[in-house]
Point group: C2
Chain length 226, copies 2
Amino acid sequence: MFKETKTHEVTTDVVIFTIKDGKLKVLLVKRAHEPFKGKWAIPGGFIRISETIDAAALRILKEKTNVQNIYLEQLYTFGDPLRHPTARVITCAYFALIRSDDIVLSFEDNSEITEVEWHPVYELPPLAFDHKEIIEYSLKRVRERLEFCPIAFQLLPEKFTLTELQKSYELILDKKLDKRNFRKKFLALSILKELDECTKSGSKRPARLYSFNEITLNSKRGHFFS
Amino acid sequence: MFKETKTHEVTTDVVIFTIKDGKLKVLLVKRAHEPFKGKWAIPGGFIRISETIDAAALRILKEKTNVQNIYLEQLYTFGDPLRHPTARVITCAYFALIRSDDIVLSFEDNSEITEVEWHPVYELPPLAFDHKEIIEYSLKRVRERLEFCPIAFQLLPEKFTLTELQKSYELILDKKLDKRNFRKKFLALSILKELDECTKSGSKRPARLYSFNEITLNSKRGHFFS
DNA sequence: TTAAATAGTGTACTTTGTACAAATATATTC
DNA sequence: GAATATATTTGTACAAAGTACACTATTTAA
């Protein structure tokens, strides 16, 4: 069925989420070579022999987006012997949340890849390997996190309106939320700092701007205050 | 610092919990060889080239305890380059919950190990590698699962009293719970089947026996009804 | 029969979540 | 500058879930 190799190869793949053009999107790269040449895939690469897995995931992230200091959490390790058609490759998957503003996607002269692009997570193209499963699982995890911890702020600019915050929740949970209840809950949490500024009205009534108070995140679990 | 190898080695280690003698315990094995010769460790082994990671974890579990069909969940993948003193070994850790009755621990003529024993999780000996961290993290995970899903039944015999059930929660959470509230909550969940039997009074007033209704567990997340 | 041990039970209060509709502030346009 | 369109903002009543808390009942053993 597949070529036996002496050892496993170990990679890390990173599902990178952002909100862009009013949609929840993931970063995909188009593969230059077989297997799955020309297919879209989530960015990934081999873990180097002297680097931690976290460091490898961060390196992959940085190669493609040039961002650091963002929410990055280990998701799950996928190791079906048949997930790669020609070798035994175990991948330790991560997911990340970033703000898409001022991010310039890049290849870094990487001949492995012919394109890098944001794709709406609810309208994905056919994907290489088991990457569809990995994205679905990371979406599930992000939703779970959202229940306990306002990680959505990783997707928002420094200053944001309550409507923008709610919109990010709705995009991730893929359902409408009640405006009054959403505000009540968030204001009760006292993790929002009400600013003296308002939107300079791109349209209609200006909205109050908020920022997040400092939050200590434990990336291994994603709870408040570790 | 450590010998460079061409590739990573990939293992799986399994934290196996049980309740025995009124204590929450984990299964440890004593290592026969270096590194960490003579030190206690959680059972583990290399993932074979054609087996899934789940299958490898299950194999390790079966080698030591001869049980199957129990709750086994992937925990986290630990990959610090310094976690193993002489090689680069990435380990995909799992945890399992089993009933300790009628379990015969075994080596299977394994020269890697000189002893197999249950150890109270709150009084651990010095452990090999990063196994202390792995056990601590799995304890944290078991506690999280307990909030959503009655996985504690994996630790109990087929028929049990509410006091026994509560005791298992108290051992895992490491705190006392209120008897009335505990009972109210569980009976409201309607996942318990009240039996017509009582304990044949090993002591004092006999207690009603219960069993669990069939529950569909999704081991990747551990929620009710997948 | 009495004492000791464990099993079993209910109520008031607090907190959290949910359903739901009207008034307000600005920009645009006529 | 008046009217209109659009997005912002606000509160209350009800339901559900969690928490604190103390006494009675049944059995065994002395």
